[in-house]
């Protein structure tokens, strides 16, 4: 629970700062605008979290989400059956990657870095220039206007809840986390680590596919480079949310909050009227600040 306190506090502090700078954001429309783009980032962050949970890291997340966006925008509206098969194929490819990494004991960082070029190339082949359209139902879902609470907030809560149930509560999730905690104990218990890693990658693939589709639902078109920054955003989100790079210690709720915080940091800097030249640097500074705070809290915890 203490692990979750810091991400929540950083999010609340940022929200307050944004409201103080721009009181008009304190409304249904304002909140929706602030958090709209956080939904695909949150999904990608959860996907990255599943990979980090089993002790790996995925450097192809941005390219993969872009590929999904291209498939969703270019193929899904015209040929739903083919589009669906391609999306499922992408998930299967992710599972196969996981199996390959475990079976050959390859470093995931290298494999996914290589795959990012494969995904990027495939995206350009499918959609050579930005364009396409979002399927009507997808736009309808992403731009729905439920009463009282904006869609972006509801979606974030649902993502966090589903990820928490699957990863933290289910027996399936426990087995995956066990793989990140002590792979030898898992294989000694007579379970196949290859199958488990494949399942973990498949689960990450499912969330990444959802991220790409959600992104197209918001932007209504695709682009081979649309989500490239998701790779680093998703890693930062996992760590912001209290996850650790090794040992299988992650928090799905924290990861979603981390993604929201990162999105909000961008808006906060725009409200400060900071020149775009400085924004990326300032975003990094915010990230360092939060991580430093986490370190201080962790040390205080240890002393207590």
């Amino acid at each position: 629970m203490i692990r979750l306190a810091l991400p929540v506090i950083s999010l609340v502090v940022l929200i307050c700062a944004v409201f103080w700078l721009q009181p008009r954001a304190m409304s249904y429309v304002g909140l929706n605008l602030l958090f709209n783009l956080a939904v695909p980032i949150a999904l990608a962050t959860v996907a990255q979290m599943v990979i980090i949970m089993v002790g790996d890291i995925d450097l192809s997340m941005g390219a993969f989400v872009s590929l999904i966006a291209c498939i969703t925008a270019a193929i899904l509206p015209g040929n739903p059956a083919l589009g669906a098969v391609m999306l499922l194929g992408c998930i299967a490819a992710y599972a196969a990657l996981g199996a390959l990494i475990e079976a050959r004991q390859l470093p995931a960082i290298v494999v996914t870095l290589g795959m990012s070029f494969v995904w990027g190339g495939a995206a350009v082949l499918i959609l050579p220039s930005p364009g396409g359209t979002a399927p009507g139902w997808l736009t309808a879902v992403m731009k729905a206007k439920p009463p009282l609470v904006p869609m972006a907030i509801i979606a974030s809560i649902i993502i966090a809840a589903v990820a928490h149930l699957v990863v933290m509560r289910s027996a399936f999730g426990v087995r995956l986390r066990a793989l990140g905690g002590n792979a030898r104990a898992v294989s000694r218990a007579g379970r196949s680590t290859i199958a488990l890693r494949a399942w973990a990658y498949a689960l990450a693939g499912v969330f990444a596919v959802a991220a790409g589709m959600a992104l197209v639902g918001l932007t209504t078109s695709g682009d081979a480079n649309i989500a490239l920054r998701y790779t680093l955003l998703s890693i930062a989100g996992v760590i912001l949310g209290g996850g650790e790079f090794t040992g299988g210690r992650v928090s799905p709720i924290g990861a979603v909050i981390g993604a929201l915080t990162l999105t909000l940091a961008g808006s906060f800097l725009s409200f400060l009227r900071l020149s775009p030249d400085w924004q990326i640097g300032a975003q990094g500074a915010i990230l360092i600040l939060v991580l430093a705070a986490r370190l201080v809290v962790r040390q205080a915890e240890k002393r207590a």
Binding site: R177, A178, G181, N182
Partner: protein, 481 residues
């Protein structure tokens, strides 16, 4: 091998051998373990105990001969569980989630409740009065609590009931009272028809619970008799190492006896003092602040910012995996790590000097390997620990801090390392030695007994007896004399 006795057995090894390349780790072993038996398995490191256990638990297949589980298809169906020395828990999971890793039937709605019920029932039965909760993360627990959970998972009720539980050094992190609870449970479990294979370097525990003892040496089972037929001395002799009981006091101790009141070279905030060339022991029950005192002292003598070519103190880790070995490095690199600053020329490592130190210490401390360039994990636990000792002793540091370094190490290795420590102390090195084992504490010139994070007694020379240490560890009411 078709006698009635064998058909009732849980596991039967019939001339089982296991080779790793040219090395024959297990050589034609015949063994059967039946219900109600508690088999004590003894032997020094490399004798084949772990290989034998790995065959029984189905981790390896034998290269020759056979392993069978009468009445069951495989080791899992036969109800064979094992608790290994390396740790079988996932630190990032809670207690009840760890049970899920080994028990496959815990799925579907409500599996958490079932898992918590099973593991807590086992904990309550084995360690009454424990304070472990089912929802605690393993990483947040002490080593002793982790070991208790591991044991409880081994005995916990499941879809296939436990019929044979292999316990490999199960008490290495437990203090005496908790260990006694485990012994009681093992006897109860065997009386109820369960079987246990018990591996321990504490011969007292073996005699305490074992009904039968198998002695292993060089991959063979060299003796297999009822426990009553062995004496403690006979057992040690059979293992091939004769424990050397008498020890000479170090020159520092002799000098003190002659009235040398030379000043202490160190004093910790807790009040632990040591002179040059003295072996100072930190005793008491496990987890009473000894390790913390050592760590504080060591960190106060070393810099966070730079390595020193002549450090003031070096550290020998007890928890090898956490504080000791660099798992992907070679033995030689692990060994020379602490002395690295003396091996550099113009910032580059002098490989010739490194190799020289490596082979010198291999000889001096007896690391059993054909090539110091092999990965450190290719060594047995005892030999890894020797490499860590050599790492510390290869420096010029005047003070050596040791945090219970002999955990799970066989008697032969221990005797060799004790000699090395005495030799180094005679040359003027000071040792601060935390140990949970009484035999080791007797090697010290002076002993500080810890209780509740503070020193409860200081013993010197002939005062260092088991009774005095126990009295200081368990003092009730009246203050130290």
């Amino acid at each position: 091998m078709t006698t009635g006795n064998d058909r009732a057995a849980v596991v039967v090894l019939d001339g089982a051998s296991k080779s790793f390349g040219a090395l024959k780790a297990l050589d034609r072993v015949d063994l059967s373990v039946g219900p109600g038996e508690c088999l004590g398995l003894v032997g020094h490191n490399g004798a084949g105990k772990s290989t034998l256990v790995n065959l029984i638990t189905g981790l390896f297949a034998p290269t020759e001969g056979g392993v069978s589980y009468p009445g069951a298809a495989d080791h899992r169906a036969a109800g064979i569980r094992s608790i290994s020395q390396e740790g079988t828990l996932c630190p990032n999971l809670t207690v009840l989630e760890n049970l899920q890793v080994t028990q496959r039937d815990l799925t579907g709605w409500g599996w958490r409740g079932a898992a918590a019920g099973r593991v807590m029932a086992a904990l309550d039965a084995i360690f009454p009065g424990h304070r472990i909760r089912a929802h605690t993360l393993v990483i947040d627990m002490t080593l002793a609590e982790q070991q208790m959970v591991e044991i409880a998972i081994g005995f916990a009720e499941g879809a296939t009931p436990a019929r044979l539980v292999v316990l490999d050094e199960p008490t290495s992190s437990l203090d005496a009272s908790i260990a006694a609870q485990l012994m009681t449970h093992i006897r109860r479990f065997c009386a109820g028809g369960g079987a246990v294979i018990f591996i321990s370097h504490m011969l007292g525990e073996i005699f305490d619970v074992a009904t039968r003892i198998v002695v292993m040496r060089d991959g063979r089972s060299i003796a297999d008799r009822p426990a009553g037929d062995f004496t403690r001395q006979g057992l040690v002799d059979a293992m091939g190492h004769v424990a050397d009981d008498d020890h000479q006091p170090s020159p520092a101790a002799l000098a003190r006896a002659l009235g040398d009141k030379s000043s202490h070279i160190l004093r910790t905030p807790e009040g632990v003092e040591a002179r040059r060339g003295e072996i100072v022991g930190l005793a008491g029950l496990a987890g009473h602040g000894q390790a913390e005192a050592l760590a504080r002292f060591y960190l106060s003598r070393s810099s966070d910012w730079r390595g020193a070519s002549d450090p003031q103190a070096v550290f020998v880790a007890g928890d090898r995996k956490r504080d000791g070995v660099m798992p992907v490095w070679s033995i030689r690199r692990n060994l020379t790590l602490a002395a690295l600053d003396r091996l550099t020329r113009w910032g580059l490592i002098d490989h010739a000097a490194e190799a020289r130190i490596g082979s010198e210490w291999q000889k001096r401390i007896g690391i059993r390997t054909p090539d110091m360039g092999n990965p450190i994990l290719s060594l047995s636990g005892g030999n890894q620990q020797k490499a860590l000792f050599a790492r510390a002793l290869a420096t010029q540091a005047p003070v050596v801090v040791m945090d219970d370094p002999m955990r799970g190490v066989d008697i032969g290795t221990k005797t060799e390392v004790y000699d090395m420590i005495r030799h180094e102390a005679a040359n003027g090195r000071t040792f601060l030695w935390y140990s949970t084992e009484m035999d080791e504490i007797r090697n010290c010139d002076r002993v500080f007994v810890f209780r509740d994070g503070a020193i409860s007694a200081e013993l010197e020379g002939v005062q260092i007896t088991e009774e005095a240490i126990l009295a200081a560890s368990f003092e009730f009411g009246d203050s130290a004399a």
